[in-house]
Symmetry: C2
Subunit: 332 residues, 2 copies
């Protein structure tokens, strides 16, 4: 084999489903490692809601958009297949920012080796962006205390499911909001959430009254939408809102209105948006915080694995509609 | 004279203008001071937007509502006319929580003496709730840095005008939002704001583009309404929003929608609601922070003085419509 496949961003998506014409599949000549470089063969490619934002033209966002004609940005795992780098040997398993490509050349910067005993699916489901984001948002922003109540939206998603399990392990009452009965059952029966709300079919306000008997101290927001107003009404004084994602709005031509701000004053709420690129320097501390929970078996996950690079486009649309069950990734 | 007038809260107001029937004017027998007590004759009574909230039945708010049949709650200044208290002499001028009443008995708790050289109008306009709230919100929540840009809504109001002047003294670019050309001219010509926006007649977005050339770092929110979305669009990364008041919504039967939350993530905004009762213990530090600006002549104010206790009802409605010019108070 002398060529490999990569997928470039060809045009910026309009709001709504992302068509295949957004991307261009290209064949490239297989590279070799120059001085100080490695060549990585990607094994699993992570699909994350943040990628929708990276495709937009908003240059004021937290990281620059992917340039048209460039390989689509993503994280993933891979295996070193060629090395002129003192720290990487052929056969090493690595993870980091990879892109929609079967092979890539790297200086090694930003790539970390997978610890022994951690397989690729667990790496991308727990130790990569989802786990880092969950850990930063929960401990760096929301600052949970045992005995408090947390509501997590997008609770069956890659970040939300970890947030809920960390909070549960810390002694909080954990309520998840998700979009299907199957997801709600998984949260309660498999992950040990205290309760779950199907926002598509339940009376959200009534369910919050039933489940959050002492009110809500923390709202971990992954989705956006009308649940915001309901949860605001149930927040306690000095409640904290960690704003991690707005997946329900990313592909909408008309972003939904937010809740009125009167509860922000009456309850002295603190609302903080955050994104991981601000916190890359803290990754070692975040991993140190997260790993003991994983080692104790407190962080379960389910990986939703698609097959082959071209399936990534369908995967993005799954994220927009909530069609994925668990951490979405592509096996190459 | 053996009796005095007080005004009790008789019923909870509906959204909209506050009718006189909300209150009951009563005559009471003039009290004398018991052991350890003082009798205070109120001289000026402060009217503040927060009072609208105190009249509602929302027991989950930051302080309990005024009970039906109780004297309406307010702050003010007064003169001690009878004293059995070692720390207060007849003739002492005091300020603190007073209520809608010509006279009241007090243990002295929560009452502070007016410093020499500070008259009653300045005391209520600067050193009472408005100045304490402005100081807490600006320094405790928004944390301004020289060179940054702040937008203040309700900028001609009692809190907003002090916030803007403090920020200007600290080297920020200060933009005020107000509801009349007269107020906007006062902000720029008298208080030294860098610019002002009349939200009723200006194209808010275009004016922000013109005035906030480096974007907005701090949004000090006193009013609510559609300006929120415009200011969100102009916020810089890591911007801070101090949520102090929502006067435009307090009397509305249908509170306005808030802005969509996508900018909260993209710009990692921090939004914090605050109210002074959480910070009464810090009043000495807040006064220590505020006083030097006043001594240097950096905090101008204008008092809007109504005459006589019954005018307080009209005063509340002025606050709702923005009809007052400057710090509203009632001279008794």
């Amino acid at each position: 084999m002398t060529t490999y496949t990569a997928i470039n961003l060809k045009q910026r998506p309009e709001p709504g489903p992302i068509p295949a014409s957004t991307f261009e599949v290209v064949q490239k000549a297989l590279p070799s490692a120059g001085p100080g470089e490695i060549v990585v063969k990607q094994t699993y490619m992570s699909l994350d809601p943040a990628m929708i934002g990276w495709m937009s033209s908003d240059t004021k966002s937290y990281i620059p958009p992917v340039a048209l004609g460039d390989v689509m940005r993503s994280s993933g795992t891979g295996e070193v297949v060629d090395s002129n780098h003192p720290d990487f040997a052929v056969g090493d398993r690595v993870m980091g920012m990879t892109g929609w490509t079967e092979y890539f050349v790297s200086s090694g910067q930003g790539l970390n080796k997978l610890p022994a005993g951690v397989d690729e699916e667990q790496a991308l489901s727990v130790f990569a962006l989802p786990g880092l984001t969950a850990t930063q948002g929960l401990y760096g922003v929301a600052k949970p205390k045992s005995g408090e109540t947390i509501v997590v939206s997008g609770a069956a998603g890659s970040v939300g499911s970890i947030v809920g399990q960390l909070a549960k392990a810390d002694g909080l009452t954990v309520i998840g909001v998700a979009g299907s009965d199957d997801k709600c059952q998984w949260l309660v029966n498999e992950l040990g959430f205290d309760g779950a709300i199907n926002y598509k079919t339940d009376d959200v306000n009534a369910k919050l009254t039933e489940l959050a008997v002492n009110g809500v101290d923390i709202f971990f927001e992954n989705t956006g939408g009308t649940i915001q107003q309901h949860i605001f009404e149930h927040m306690n004084a000095h409640g904290r809102v960690a704003v991690c994602g707005m997946i329900s709005d990313y592909a909408s031509s008309e972003p939904s209105a937010g809740p009125n701000w009167i509860p922000i004053i009456k309850k002295r709420l603190m609302i903080q948006g955050f994104t991981m690129p601000d916190h890359y320097a803290q990754v070692p501390e975040l991993l140190a915080k997260l790993t003991p929970y994983v080692m104790k078996g407190q962080i379960k996950y389910r990986a939703h694995v698609l097959d082959g690079l071209p399936s990534a486009v369908d995967g993005l649309n799954m994220l927009l509609t909530g069609g994925n069950k668990g951490k979405l990734m592509v096996k190459l």
